[in-house]
Amino acid sequence: MDRRILFVEDDSDIREIVAHGLENQGFEVAAEGDGRQALVRFHRDPFDAIILDLMLPSLNGLEICRRIRVDSPVPIVMLTARTETADVIAGLEAGADDYVTKPFEIDELIARLRAVLRRTERSVEVDHVDVGDLRIDQGAFKAFRDGAEVNLTTIEFRLLNELARSAGRVMSREVLLETVWGYEYLGDSRIVDMAVKRLRSKIEDDPSNPRLIQTVRGVGYRLES
């Protein structure tokens, strides 16, 4: 199955090289070098995932990310220049599911891309989990709150699903990184924090005073059962 990827990067050489690498691995790639055009393209054609550079002419990656997230849960991997600065946080806050730091190996980018595209394995014995007034339908890959569907990205759904499967128990950031994002032990746990923040904004009544997803300081998170 060919996954359609929108790849937004302003440097034409890198665009060419990376697009070539992705195509080698069986992805169908549409490459764009301009932010505004990329957004137009996204609304015109359907895509399975987006790879987004942060520094772009006309409209930067963060803004594109935010605009896409208004109505789409499409998986987004962003390319950042730095691992430390506010860039990463800002990108994750804007709704990106994962990030890759420049310079990067193509293999690494593809691994991250596959991780955000991967859906939860269909569970054999149960097809949904109920936690409080939340229903997580693993078959349909959807979450409901009081019967109304909550619009979640793939990563957010998987995160909620993992927390729900261990409802009432603390899950460490490391375990979540591994099960949800497919990272090895030494990943960047800020991805988890940001995804939890986004998830809270969608399922909590008061995201600044969360009732469902509790933070356990220095360890991780717990979904109240």
């Binding site: 890198i14 600065t85 420049k102």
Partner: protein, 460 residues
Amino acid sequence: MSSVRPIPPVRFRRRLTVAFVLIAALSAGIIAVVSFTLVRADRYRSLHERAVGASALALSLAGSADRNDDVEITAEEIVAHLSSRQSFEVVAVSEEETVSSVASIDEEELPSEFETSSQDPDFLHQEVEIDGRPYLVVRPQETVNSVTLNVLFSAGALEGQLDRLASILLRTWLGVVALAGLVGLVVARRALRPVARASEAARSLAEGLLETRLPVERHDEFGAWAVSFNEMADALQEKIEALMEAHARERRFASDVAHELRTPITGLVASASLLRGKLGELDPDTRWSAERLLGQVTRMKALVEELLEMSRFDEGRESLSLDKVEPQDFVNSLLTQRGWAGLVRCEIEATALVVDGRRLERILGNLVDNAVEHGDGEVELRWRTANAWMTIEVRDEGPGIAEADKSRIFDRFYKADPSRSGGTGLGLSIALENARILGGDISVENLESGARFTVRLPLP
């Protein structure tokens, strides 16, 4: 920056105040003592005058009483004659008897030696204390019928006045001293305020507030001082700002270079990873070159990444992201990921802790990398926690570090052995920067064989 504690400005102020008080006390004291002495002398002189006058009167009264009768007058009769006088007492001494107008005074208490009066050489006088009361005794040289008269004048009232005067003087003196202390304190504070202000200004300059200046409000020495202080601060600020700008320019250049390199490196790394997949399809000669190329690309990627990391340290906008770290797991996965699994012997006596895992990984990764690179043998890693600190030692079996290199080993791009290829020269520097961000430090020492790097980090 020196850590000398500023001397509190109170000390000099106190000294100035004490000096002020001492001078006031001394001069007021001298004035009081001198005036008391003068008053006392004056009062005694007038008492003396009155006493001599009264004694002359007593003598003539006694003489006239003697002449009235044919019988020679006795001491007792003289005393009886004179005892009606209120202003003095009389002790008459003849060869046969001593008669006193007061019972409590007899011959024994009279002074044995007299001075000749300066008023009238016919009279002798002496001051004496009888039963705790001061008296002035006047003795005419002349006798009446060989009876020597001793005329006693009480100086009690006079001494009482003098005592009162002394007490007034003492109280005034104390008042003057207290007032001087108060005035001295105020004056000293006022006088030293520019000094206090200047030292505060100097301190804030030293702390980096280069805009600090002194107000010039007085046309005196302090005003001139403030002007030259400000001139110094201007010069200092100018120099430091120029230096800082040059330094910032230098760092900006390094940072710009690293950032500019990133795009072509990203292209290089990406295409290198495509090439890596095709290595098997190349003929041996081309493949040899391609492998070298890939190796150099990897090296260059590491260098640019480290340069970028350095420029982030320089920007000083470093944040912490805390994770729970299980030391044993942490070290195991680090060693496995970096391919050092069989090379490092670990001794871990530490329980789980909360720390910035990525920074800790940078520190340990770079130290172990350095030890593996230069160690020529087994590397030993010891991780312990004690009190509020965790200590991680990385020890190698290499030649150790020359004394000359020790102080520079953490400098950027410093390589103790320039002939060695590989490594960017930034690894130890990055490890140290990260340790400092975590509130700790890294030290290095030579052992009998090899070197030992010790990381000390505070536990949360």
